[in-house]
Symmetry: C2
Subunit: 139 residues, 2 copies
C-alpha cells in the first residue's frame, strides 16, 4: 500500500481520499473484483463517489502498471493489483472464473521482434481461455 502511494507521489499524482479508497478497495476485495464491486466497496468510505472516478483511477493504475485488467469474454472485465510476480490468467469460458498462471512465455527476443516493426513495447496482455477443472468434470 505504502509502495503504491510512494510511486504515485513520485510521478506527480495527487493523493485524494477517493483514490486512496479505490486502492484500499483493491486490496480488500482481493480476488478479481469487477468495477461495480469496487464501487460498492469504495462507497462505504466515500458514499458520493462516482463510477467515473473508479474507472478513471483504475485506468491510471493500469497505465502505471500497478493494476491488471482481465478480460472475461461476455462477462466484462475484472481487476487485480499487480503483484511483484509478473503473471497471466486462465479464464474458464463456461463459468467465467479466473485463475492465476504464474508464468509468462514472452521473452526479450519476442519484444525485439516487435521492435523490428518500429514499435516500442511497454506492456502486454495474455489470457488463456478454456475449461476449468470443475466445469470439465461437470461435463
Amino acid at each position: 500500500m505504502d509502495e503504491l502511494l510512494k510511486e504515485l507521489r513520485a510521478k506527480g499524482y495527487k493523493m485524494t481520499p477517493q483514490r486512496r479508497a479505490v486502492i484500499t478497495a483493491l486490496l480488500e476485495c482481493g480476488k478479481f473484483p469487477t468495477a461495480q464491486q469496487l464501487l460498492a466497496k469504495v462507497k462505504q468510505a466515500a458514499p458520493d463517489v462516482s463510477l467515473d472516478t473508479i474507472y478513471r483511477n483504475l485506468s491510471l493504475l493500469i497505465d502505471l502498471g500497478l493494476v491488471n485488467e482481465i478480460h472475461l469474454p461476455g462477462r466484462g472485465n475484472v481487476f487485480e493489483l499487480t503483484t511483484n510476480q509478473h503473471h497471466h490468467h486462465l479464464v474458464c469460458v463456461r463459468c467465467g472464473k479466473a485463475e492465476c498462471l504464474d508464468y509468462c512465455p514472452v521473452s526479450a527476443q519476442d519484444l525485439e521482434k516487435a521492435a523490428e516493426q518500429g514499435f516500442e513495447i511497454i506492456s502486454h496482455s495474455l489470457e488463456f481461455y478454456g475449461y476449468c477443472r470443475s466445469c470439465r468434470l461437470a461435463g
Copy 2:
C-alpha cells in the same frame, strides 16, 4: 469465404442472409473494423439488421476460432477474420492503431503448464501495447 460457410454448415449452424452479410462485411472491411462499422456495412445488404445480430454472429465466429477480437484499451474492440497464420497484434496506446505481429510465443509446453492446474485450454489472446513508429517520431 466458401471455407467459412462449409465450416459453419459442418457444425450444424444455419446460413441466414444476415450471417452471410456479416461475413461478407468482415471480408470487405478488411483491416480491423469495429462493431459499428460492420453494422453500417451489413445494413447496405440488410437494412433491418439489428446490432444484436452483429454481436451474436461475431461471438459465434470467435468461439469457432474464425474471428479474432482485438482489445484497444479505452477505444473498444475491433475484429478481424482469422487467417491461416495464427498471430497476434501490436496496439499503439497513443493513436489506437493495430498492426499484426506474425508470431506467437506460446508453445505446447506453455499449454502443458496450464493443464497442470486442471485447465483444458482452447485458445488464448495476446496483445502487445506500446508506441508505434509514427507516434514515437511525433514525440
